[in-house]
Structures are given as structure tokens and as C-alpha cells.
């Protein structure tokens, strides 16, 4: 039977509240669950709680924590994507690893949690797999949230002349002048250390664009991890308030990624982009496999 243990973990002068979930057998690995700012450790609509239990059913232990100022943790931190609370996450992960006698970590995160996951992966040697939930836009993973100086200038100008605003917005959206996605440096750092999957909730067009961009990074010489984009087609998820029917799909997709990542068997062709056994999850490049598929590497022979 799955067991859950709530704990207060000392961190500097503060205490971080966390819940450690254990399967009934020795765990395959520890999965760290990191939510966005403003959500407690169970996430909205118990999403993390349910994922933790589904992970336990697959033999994984997990730990979920409250950020400072949220839930039962104490302390505070700057509410900025550029200063994610990675130290807090590492402290909690290390405590859970020690308590469970494990040395392998996977991370699932969204928004601020996704940014934190990338930093943790580059600092924590035990981390070999990351799943970032991306809702509609990967802005939180892009430099300047994806807005370039010309974008900002055009928007400012449109703000002064309201009649122009609509036209400017339309022009800015056209494919022709869409700026190249410039990921925050943490994405490259994470790819040096771990496999990375973006679970994209949104349109196929946007997912394809994200896939093209991440392929550029994953194909570089110092990126040892494989990168994938998996798509769950939906409208807006507006702040991880995922619709009732979408929640099981998201949970299944994340469990399947972790199961693949920590599978004992070497990852082969069958694990190519988008091979998800979930009806509503569709591969981004189902037919041609695309650049991300080409960039993936087998799990064996990974450099430290």
C-alpha cells in the first residue's frame, strides 16, 4: 500500500513543508513535483497528489513541497521566474533521497516549477529526466518571456494610439515576423544533464514551433539529453486549472514519460516522439518524426 508522510524540512532559518509518497516496494527513483507560484504542494484540484499516487503504483517514490509563503512552508522568496527557488527544491530532494536510500531523480514541473526543475537538473547529478508542462505558450521558459525589444516597442507605441493596437497585434502574430524562440540558458544546462520532455497543452501549430526550436538546442554537441515535445490538444488551461476530462490525460502522459525514462530496458525506436498510449495525446510529428526525434539519443552511454 502506498504510504504518504508529511514532513517539515529545515531550510536555513525556515521550514519547508513536504509530503513524501512511497510505493509498497523499493522505489525505482524519486520524482520531484514542482508547481507554479500560488499553488500548494497538492497543486490545483489535487493534481500532484493524484500524480504522486499514480507514480507510486508504477514503483516511483515522489516528493511534493510547498514554496515559501504558500501552504505550510515558512519564509519568503522573490516571486520572479529568473530567481526560481532551486535551493529549496534541492534541499527537499536531498532529504528525500537520503531518507529513501535512492540516487536517481526525475522532475515534473509547470511554470515557476518548470524553471526551477531546469536549474535543479543542472545542479543535481542524480537528476536524469525532466517533464515540463507547458500551457499554451512556453513564455516562462523564454528569455524576456518571449518578447523581443521590437515587440515591446511596437506594443508601447500601440498603447499610445489605441486604434493601432489591433493592427499591431495582428501583425505581431504573423509567422513572417515571429521572433526565434530564445530559451533561457537553464534549458541548455538541463539538456547537458538530463532528458527533457515538454508536455504541451495547446494548439498543434504552437507545439510544432516549440519542437523546431528545442530541436536546435538538443542537436548541439554538448546536449547529452534527448528532447521531446508531446502534445495534448486543448484550448486554454488557464493557470493549470485543467478541465476535469483533461486531468487524467495529463497524469497518464507524465507517468508514461517517467516510466520510459527510468525503464531498465534501453530506449529504442519505439520511444520516438509522441509515442503515447493516450487517446488524446498526439505526437507533434507523427509521420515524419521531425527534428526532435532525430536529436534523441539512446539512454545507454550517457555522459556524466
Amino acid at each position: 500500500m502506498t504510504s504518504e508522510t508529511p514532513v517539515f524540512i529545515p531550510f536555513r532559518e525556515e521550514r519547508l513543508a513536504a509530503v513524501i509518497t512511497e510505493p509498497d516496494s523499493h522505489p525505482r527513483a524519486l520524482i520531484l513535483l514542482l508547481q507554479g507560484l500560488g499553488s500548494p504542494r497538492s497543486h490545483r484540484n489535487q493534481l500532484w497528489t493524484r500524480i504522486a499516487r499514480a507514480l507510486a503504483a508504477e514503483g516511483f517514490a515522489s516528493v511534493r513541497l510547498d514554496w515559501p509563503e504558500v501552504g505550510d512552508s515558512t519564509g519568503s522568496f522573490p516571486a520572479e521566474l529568473d530567481s526560481p527557488p532551486a535551493e529549496e527544491a534541492i534541499a527537499v530532494t536531498q532529504t528525500a533521497l537520503d531518507a529513501l536510500g535512492l540516487d536517481r531523480v526525475g522532475i515534473i514541473g509547470n511554470c515557476l516549477g518548470a524553471r526551477t526543475a531546469l536549474v535543479v537538473a543542472s545542479r543535481l547529478e542524480a537528476c536524469t529526466s525532466i517533464a515540463c508542462i507547458v500551457e499554451g505558450s512556453p513564455a516562462s521558459l523564454l528569455r524576456g518571456e518571449g518578447k523581443t525589444a521590437p515587440h515591446r516597442a511596437a506594443k508601447r507605441m500601440a498603447g499610445h494610439v489605441p486604434r493601432l493596437a489591433k493592427k499591431v497585434r495582428r501583425i505581431l502574430r504573423t509567422r513572417r515576423i515571429q521572433p526565434r524562440m530564445r530559451f533561457v540558458p537553464e534549458v541548455s544546462s538541463a539538456l547537458r544533464a538530463a532528458d527533457l520532455m515538454f508536455l504541451f497543452l495547446g494548439s498543434e501549430t504552437a507545439a510544432r514551433r516549440l519542437e523546431r526550436s528545442i530541436a536546435g538546442l538538443a542537436g548541439t554537441a554538448d546536449a547529452h539529453g534527448r528532447a521531446e515535445v508531446r502534445l495534448i490538444p486543448t484550448g486554454a488551461a488557464f493557470g493549470m486549472r485543467l478541465s476535469v476530462d483533461l486531468q487524467p490525460t495529463v497524469i497518464d502522459a507524465l507517468i508514461e514519460w517517467m516510466d520510459e525514462s527510468f525503464s531498465l530496458a534501453p530506449v529504442g525506436e519505439d520511444h520516438a516522439v509522441g509515442r503515447l498510449g493516450v487517446d488524446r495525446t498526439v505526437p507533434v510529428h507523427a509521420e515524419d518524426r521531425g527534428p526532435v526525434a532525430a536529436a534523441q539519443r539512446p539512454d545507454v552511454g550517457k555522459e556524466p
Binding site: G38, R50, V70, A79, V244
Partner: protein, 297 residues
Amino acid sequence: MGIVEEFLTPTIGGGRTVAVLARPLSGTASMGWVICHSFGLEQVFLQPLETPFARGLAAAGCAVLRFHCQGYGDAELTAEHISMRSHIDDSLKAVELLTSVTQIDHIGLMGARFGGTVAALVADRLEAQAMILWDPIVSGRTYMRTMARLSVMTELLTHRRSSNSADPLTVLREKGALDVQGFPLRREVFEEISKVDLPSDLLRFKGDSLLVQVSRSATVRPGLQLLSHRLEELGGNARSEVVTDRAADKFGRPRFRSRAAGKKVDTQSTLAQSLISRTLSWERGLSEDRTGSGRQR
């Protein structure tokens, strides 16, 4: 702060759940408070106010228990088990737990929004000594209509369409549930909560109560006035306060908003501080009354 907090893992409402007991570091707590959380996603959005308030009460010499009803947070059962009755039954069990752990017999109930409604009904049933209600839901019918409107928004945003041009109540009848921002609001629960009329549902509470309205305007809403009159009628001592704030309409909704360059701003920090400090000030008066140092009512 001079307090100590510990996790408890009681069995409440047919499953295990997680609770936090906050107590003063030294001395014996003079009164115990149970915090009843709100309904659906409001539970998530109001928790960051309830936790510092619980710590403030503990620092003021009280034992405070906050916990997850079944279907919320770390509780064993999921949202399908949530109902008006489960909120009330789980809160009654939480009071039992607090009493057995601390041996305190002076108990108060506290809650915000729907949690305030639950706190009032539990306090009434137990004839508790005190209650604190932050912007309580006085009419269950009005509250459920708001939820129904939110479900339309969920449908529009998620599927970029409305599944049914009929009103959400028709959808509720046909499908048996509404999707309210990912929270499954079942028809039975909708009907159960719609029947709540807090002033007439209170039958015996004679204790002290603080009713706080959170609004942009200083005018006390008729529902809160009715509630206050009802409490006085029952023989209790009710005090109404209005906390005015520009962010009042966001109470029970997400606190953080994105600003430029990846910064997030807490839109309710002023509101939270004001609400907590005024409530703690009222509780200090209550505490002085209890210890006999006197307060003019």
C-alpha cells in the same frame, strides 16, 4: 513567532488526511480554533491567508488546527467525495481531534467564503464559544450560480466553444456535473449547497462572532446584516466589520499576477494583512474577556 507546528495524519471522513496543529511554544493554549477551508478551487486560493492567520492565533496563545477535508489537498479521497455534508462532517471530526489532542474545551471555528458558512454551521451544531467568518457565503443559491457561470468560462476556454447553448443548469441536469475550473461540481452537491440560507440555518449559536465583509465599498451587504441580526436574535454577540480593498473582488481567487520581465505580483497582500490584523485584534479582545481582564462590549 514563538509557536510550534506539527503535522497530524488523522482519519477523517473515511480516509486519511493531513492536518497541521499550531500551538504557542510556551504555556498552555487558552482556546482552540479549527479552520474550515472553502469549496473547490477557493480552498487553494484562500490557504495562503489561512496559514498566517493560524500562526497569528497560535502566537496569541491559541491552539489552531487546519486540515484538508476529503477530496482536497493531501486527503486520501478525491473530489468525487466532496459534498456540503462531507465538509461539515469532516470539520466536526476535526474539532474532536483538536479537543482530544489539546484537552481544550473552549472551541472556536473560523472560515473564509464557503469555509465561513461551514464554520458557522459547525459552530451552531456544537454550540461553540466563538466563530470568525471572512466574507461568508450567506446564500448557497447565489454561490452556486456563480459556480455555474465559472463552468461556462471553463468550457469556453478549454474547448474554445460552449458545449451547450442552454444555460449551465440544463447541462448540469443532463450530464450530472459541471466542470468548474477543473473541479467536478456534481448535481447533488449543487442542489445541497443551493439550499443553504445561513441566517435561517443557524438555530442555537450563542457565542461571540466576528463577521467580516471583504468589499470595495464600505456598505454592509444585506445578507451579512441579516446574518448579524440572526446571531443577535439567538443570544450571541456578533460584531460586523468591513475590510475595504481595491482587490476585494479577487478574494477567493488567484493572488499572483504576471508583470513585466517574469515578475509576479501578489495582488492581495494589503488585503491579507488588513484582514488578519483586524481579526487578530478582535480575538485579543475576546481573549481578554476570557481571562477576565475586561473588554467593553
